[in-house]
């Protein structure tokens, strides 16, 4: 059945991720979103709802294009880099005012960075603004020129500034000075007290129902034809905790956009609606956040004593050979995924390395590999046992209620059973998984991590052995293995090299080491599809969330209402 669906997919015309229809200003776009914001203060909240609102109401000095990865000017009109690469001099736009009418100056940039680093604020974005663990410095040279000084050369360059929303000093300075910044701009704050530089302003918030954003009349951008942006008058974000409800509402013409990606089980239904002209599907490319299976490789973990084979590279290689990625793609993703063997997918563009393809599906080779480790069926029950006669079995934690993860884990479980390995799948809610993972109290985890950048140099916590997100053995004082030491060395060099070709070469070597050592197993990277009503124009869909509203200022609505509305 999966293959049939896949054929259907490939026979369909290619979807576009950029629309170029004629744009019409005005109107209210209705988007559904599953969670509510806990605050309107982006600096203190790491959740996606706050990031979405941040993208709509705030602006940054530069922006990373969520489809190409290119850095584009925003509040910084242009910039120069010093010869040693350690100082950027940014020329700021001088025609910009906050939504409350106060002018934007370099003081706001310096203030925003200070707030992000302030220890009392405990900002959720502080770590993404560190270079080699050290903060960057900003100095106002005049009202519209800022010097940004880096602690060391930084390969990803200006992209780091995409993480910093520029906040109004005149509104938030007192809270920062008083140590009450974390309480500032909570959801009970009168909305007229909140000012930003983004395309929209907060108009109305009804907890549990909706958040209404209105056009910022002082937004500083115009389109290529000189028309004032944003095109839309309003965006209404309706809180719809259940994704089934979201799909029904979109199909019925009650909403224009599901902010989350389309689930695979909904795709056939939505394609039918697309054929009837009721909705539009947008191809956002291949996900850059594939799910992965990793084992606890900490040499101090209890599992290193009780099940030493679980930490062996050969064991992971055997699993990689024993799992049919094709079966996974066809049954779980209904053909809407690419087979992969590492964290870098075709969605990462030029960073993807063609020669790190997955191994061929070969259960016999996997069995031989396991036998060479001394894992054989010693009691004739059809399952493997280790040298102590203990069954080769492990528990993998995965996310409860996440259908893709639960089904993927079930497929892997079944395929491993066929070669004599018992994998017990334990479905838990995410915070419980993080809790057990943080405590090192686990054997394996099947989960997914959402990066916010295409550039691996912005994801150092994953690659470095000292990183908090080095999933299989985080925060190592010294690298536990020689290959991790080598990756550390390469990534440190890669992230401090500004020459693109050299960065590519260094990262290719990192990927090859990863491919040989398989510290984490990757099987499939899904294609990301976004659904909107047909009246939404100007969609540029990205695999990075928020997939459509990251570029909300360019969205518009056609005059006609969709069927069903």
């Amino acid at each position: 059945m999966g293959i049939g669906v896949y054929s259907l997919w490939v026979s369909r015309p290619e979807r576009q991720n950029v629309q170029s229809d004629a744009l019409a200003p005005g109107g209210r776009l209705i988007a559904t979103y599953r969670t509510e914001p806990g605050t309107f203060n982006r600096l203190i909240a790491p959740q996606s709802a706050e990031e979405l609102i941040n993208r709509l109401t705030n602006a940054t000095l530069v922006r990373v294009d969520r489809t190409s990865g290119a850095v584009e000017p925003r509040l910084a009109r242009s910039w120069t880099t010093s010869a040693d690469g350690l100082t950027w001099t940014l020329s700021l736009r001088d025609d910009v005012t906050f939504s409350d009418g106060r002018p934007f100056t370099s003081a706001d940039v310096v203030f925003s960075l200070r707030a992000a680093y302030d220890e009392r604020v405990k900002s959720a974005i502080a770590t993404s603004l560190l270079i080699a663990g050290k903060p960057i410095q900003a100095r106002a040279l005049d009202a519209h020129t800022v010097a940004v000084v880096l602690p060391s050369p930084f390969g990803p360059g200006m992209a780091i500034l995409d993480a910093l929303p520029i906040l109004p000093q005149h509104k938030l300075q007192p809270a920062l000075d008083a140590g009450t910044f974390r309480e500032a701009w909570g959801v009970t704050t009168p909305l007229q007290d909140i000012a930003g530089l983004g395309p929209f302003v907060l108009k109305e918030y009804v907890p549990g129902r909706h958040l209404l954003l209105g056009r910022n009349p002082r937004f500083w951008r115009t389109d290529a034809a000189g028309r004032q942006l944003p095109y839309l008058d309003e965006i209404e974000i309706q809180f719809t905790p259940d994704q089934n409800n979201e799909v029904i509402r979109l199909q019925a013409g009650e909403s224009d956009l599901m902010t989350d990606r389309v689930r695979f089980e909904d795709l056939a239904l939505l394609e039918e609606a697309e054929d009837q002209g009721r909705i539009a599907l947008h191809d956002a490319g291949v996900s850059i956040a594939p799910d992965l299976l990793w084992f606890n490789l900490n040499p101090q973990a209890p599992v290193s004593k009780t099940k030493p084979w679980l930490q062996a590279t050969e064991f992971r290689l055997a699993i990689s050979e024993a799992v049919s990625r094709t079966a996974l793609v066809n049954t779980v993703f209904l053909g809407e995924a690419i087979e992969i063997a590492g964290p870098i997918t075709p969605g990462h563009g030029d960073w993807y390395l063609e020669d790190t393809r997955p191994p061929a599906f070969d259960p016999d080779a996997a069995i031989k590999r396991l036998q060479s480790m001394g894992l054989t069926d010693r009691n004739g029950d059809g399952m493997l046992d280790d040298a102590r006669g203990q069954p080769v079995a492990f528990a993998a934690l995965t996310q409860k209620g996440h259908s893709v993860r639960e089904r993927s884990a079930a497929i892997v479980q079944e395929q491993l059973r066929r070669i004599g390995i018992r994998m017990d799948v334990v479905a838990l809610e995410p915070r419980t998984i993080f809790g057990q993972w943080s405590a090192g109290d686990y054997e394996a985890v099947y989960f997914g991590i959402e990066p916010d950048s295409f550039d691996p140099g912005r994801n150092m916590d994953f690659w470095l052995s000292s990183g908090g997100f080095h999933l299989w053995n985080p925060r190592q004082a010294t690298p536990a293995t020689s290959w991790e030491a080598r990756i550390d060395q390469l990534m440190q060099k890669q992230s401090t090299t500004t020459e693109p070709t050299e960065r590519q070469r260094l990262f290719a070597e990192v990927q090859r080491i990863f491919h040989e050592q398989v510290p984490a197993l990757y099987f499939a990277a899904p294609k990301v599809t976004i659904a909107t009503s047909t009246r939404v124009k100007g969609v540029t869909a990205s695999p990075i969330a928020p997939s459509v509203l990251w570029n909300a200022e360019m969205l518009s609505l056609s005059a006609s209402s969709p069927p069903g509305r």
Partner: protein, 305 residues
């Protein structure tokens, strides 16, 4: 009078103990489960010291008994703690949503009673008829259908026909989703009771006196058969609140159920406990009211306490 006072005081004490037990139980269960409100901080790359200070701020570094004691002491001052997800006092958050859940539940209860009881009397007093059969089949269908399917079905119907708004916060769909299964339950119980009452000696005697059938059904059988329905009302109301979680989430009704789900996903300890206390309080109040009604209708209930 003494019996009545003893009865009311006893029921109030049981209600208070029930609320306390639910609150402490929820608090302890969430505390004991692996992971907490700070677990997601690893996603932001926060260092262990930052996570530890956040845990201390939330009281998660305290031993469980001390933490429960501190929480209970706070409740005595009407301080239910602060939500880690929303950065607001739990009491205010819960109060906002409690009213909406109470509104939904009360409206659903009224509608269910309005539909279920008359239909139950009809089907019970016309056993074997086509009408009774149809009502019975419909009721059993609603009872068998899992709440999630029934709610989605209603949502699809509303979206497809446009009869009811499906916008978040509109009452129509959640009200029907909650009321119809409850009405089916009332109908089945009432049908059984009405059938027995209609066949009782006093109704036969009234019929022998020449009373018209409509009076026999609605004045005699219906009234007699209310007692068993009242007896199960407390359980029904409790199931109404537990069912409202699913209905609220699927239909985007901004009530306590939706808030509880958000709190659970965020492992927001104080908010979960606050929601549990609020939900238990609603059930306790409803049960208390039902007990009073039963006691008023049947003095034996009062004396049995």
């Amino acid at each position: 009078v003494n019996d009545t006072i003893r009865f009311v005081a006893g029921r109030l004490a049981i209600a208070a103990l029930f609320v306390l037990a639910v609150g402490v139980g929820a608090f302890a269960l969430v505390r004991l489960a692996p992971g907490d409100a700070t677990s997601h901080l690893v996603l932001t790359g926060a260092d262990p010291a930052t996570i530890a200070s956040e845990r201390a701020r939330l009281g998660l570094d305290l031993p469980l008994p001390a933490h429960v004691a501190r929480w209970l002491a706070g409740i005595a001052r009407l301080d239910f703690g602060e939500s880690s997800r929303f950065g607001r006092p739990v009491a205010g958050l819960v109060a906002d949503r409690l009213g909406r859940t109470a509104l939904l539940a009360a409206a659903a209860l009224l509608l269910a009673v309005g539909i279920g009881l008359p239909l139950g009397v009809l089907s019970g007093t016309r056993q074997g008829s086509l009408l009774a059969g149809m009502i019975g089949v419909l009721s059993v269908a609603f009872l068998c259908c899992p709440p999630i399917i029934a709610t989605l079905g209603l949502l699809l119907l509303a979206a497809g026909t446009g009869w009811l708004s499906i916008a978040p916060g509109d009452l129509g769909v959640p009200l029907l989703a909650l009321a119809l299964p409850l009405a089916a339950t009332f109908e089945r119980i009432q049908s059984q009771a009405a059938g027995e009452a209609f066949d009782s000696a006093n109704v036969h005697a009234a019929a022998a006196r020449g009373l018209p059938r409509s009076r026999l059904v609605w004045a005699h059988a219906a009234r007699q058969s209310l007692r068993p329905v009242l007896g199960t009302a407390g359980v029904m109301i409790a199931s109404l609140f537990s069912g409202s979680v699913v209905v609220e989430v699927i239909t985007s009704w901004p009530g306590l159920g939706q808030l509880t789900l958000e709190a659970l996903l965020s492992r927001d300890l104080y908010l979960i406990a606050g929601c549990a206390v609020a939900g238990a309080s609603l059930v306790a109040v409803a049960n208390f009211a039902t007990d009073l009604l039963r006691a008023a209708a049947d003095p034996r209930v009062r004396h049995s306490t």
